[in-house]
Amino acid sequence: MYSIDRKFVALNVVLLVGAIAFLSVSESTYVTQLIVWSAINAVLAAGMRFVLLIGETNMACGAIYGFAAYLTAIGVTNGFDAVPLVVTIAALGGGVLGLLFGWVTLRVKGPYFMLIGFAFTEVIRLAYTRIDYVGGNSGMVGIYAPISLDRWMPAICVAVCYLLVIGFFAAEKSSFGSLMHAVRNNDKVVETLGVSALRVKLVCFVIAAVAVGAAGSIHAYSYHVISPGDFSFLIPVYALAYAKVGGERHVVGPVIGAIFLTVISQLVQGSGALQYVLFGGVIIVSMIGVRGGLIDIAKWVRCRYRIGGARLRVLKDPASGELG
């Protein structure tokens, strides 16, 4: 196992406690909602990046996200009040859908896999419009947490999202994460090591699906209303944009990208049809201006001012068994 960096743990505990404290006392519903939406988008983006680690673009995440949101809506509207149980079941439901989809489709690669995922997201979205039980085109309403939890829901949602991103980080740094990088590099060689590349891809995909499923469940709780139009191909497209604009080098990149673009989308929202042009323009400028993503600005600042001894290093300490 990799060693745990105490500064890293301390920083994350401070950030998590700070976010929970702020959300618990904040009187601004708009700011609170913005933080929750950013957190949900951060999980979507981190999930997208996680699958990018095996060299694939997961356009099926829209279907998984929506499926978990609908599971949550069905649960809540049928009287299930236990939020942790509902979120867990929705996340596992997303994982099962991811497992079934991945088992069939991860045998193909690159653009083929991406296009199948895209089609899957759209087919599942269209299926909701044909099923009366889930409200057809109108969707489902009344997805509320119990009143006793109402004040704490934003904090709970953000805490869950935070822990999911930390989970992605831990999985990436594990020996399984090394295998994922290896699969992206050369899956044929991974097979010669006695490891099934398909299984590595599948486990990676299911991990991402469980997290995206949990995010979908939180989406349902935070919006209270869902409809098929919420889960179109734009979900994975935005998730990819968050990951690319924020930077793929580190799991923090997609989080930064999600927060940045979520805030930008709110700022341009009052511009009518022009909002899509402005939003797209920001993405283009970001991609051209900082090719490694916004996270590279932080790296540049750290290297420029030598903060934390930041330097490019390939190997931290061979004797300690820790790869940098």
């Binding site: 050369n186 044929k188 060689v189 090591l193 061979p318």
Partner: protein, 253 residues
């Protein structure tokens, strides 16, 4: 390295490690490999040779599970491995390298070897220690922090072998390991193969076009032509076989 001493260390046995019976692969109307029968004996270095298009690489892919046979059986170390997936074949001890990029290009040499030891060693520390030993074994101990894709070609070949032997194979298949190497690098790689075979007891199957080098290192040869077995035997036997001479140089009308 002292070649004479190495040859005295361990002689090839007559026990078949791999038995190939009636191996066939068809692509539509084209028969790439036709009813092939041969065996690889434990502890030997076997050369698989033949002119371009003879079916060497297809045979190699059939043995490693990368291509499913249309017919025939593969018995490896007493077990039937016909039709198994590549990773299942590798788990049984038949491990191969590829002609191109048989390593993880974007990773350091150390990271390559750490991942290669994923199934052999359970902890990360053990994998790193093992990677250092393997690196020393193949002569890469001074290049651990280099990115594999930026290594000179000869060192990339050594890394490919290092990755393969990290899995402790019973049969190591090397697909054109000498291509693009200069004379000194060829000598070093051949020394490594001899050491692996004679001292570690690893059986080796080599496919390569460098006939001079192959004649110097292989105990026995299988010669293919048009997907069929043309000849087999020692270096002298195949060198003097009129069919083999005809296959390489053409026959007088």
């Amino acid at each position: 390295m002292n070649q004479q001493k190495l040859h005295l260390s361990r002689a090839p046995s007559t026990r078949p490690l791999l038995q190939v019976n009636g191996l066939t692969r068809r692509y539509g109307g084209l028969v790439a490999v036709s009813n092939l029968d041969f065996e690889i004996r434990s502890g030997e270095i076997l050369g698989l040779i033949g002119p371009n298009g003879a079916g060497k690489t297809t045979t190699f892919n059939l043995l490693s599970g990368h291509v499913k046979p249309s017919g025939g059986t593969l018995m490896f170390d007493g077990a039937n491995i016909t039709g198994l997936a590549p990773h299942e074949v590798s788990r049984r001890g038949l491990v191969r390298t590829f002609q191109h990029d048989s390593f993880f290009r974007d990773m350091t040499v150390l990271e390559n070897l750490v991942i290669a030891g994923h199934r052999r060693w359970r902890t990360r520390r053990a994998r790193v220690d093992g990677a250092h030993k393997i690196a020393a074994r193949v002569g890469l101990e001074n290049h651990l922090e280099m990115i594999a894709g930026s290594l000179p070609h000869g060192l990339q070949r050594l890394l490919s072998v290092g990755i393969a032997i990290s899995t402790m194979p019973k049969l190591l298949g090397l697909d054109e390991p000498l291509t693009g190497l200069h004379t000194v690098e060829v000598a070093n790689v051949l020394d490594l193969f001899r050491t692996l075979c004679r001292e570690d007891g690893t059986t080796i199957l080599i496919v390569d076009h460098n006939m001079k080098a192959m004649m110097g290192v292989c105990d026995r040869f299988i010669v293919l032509q048009y997907g069929k077995l043309l000849a087999q035997g020692t270096a002298d036997e195949v060198r003097n076989n009129p069919d083999v001479i005809g296959a390489y140089l053409g026959k007088a009308q």
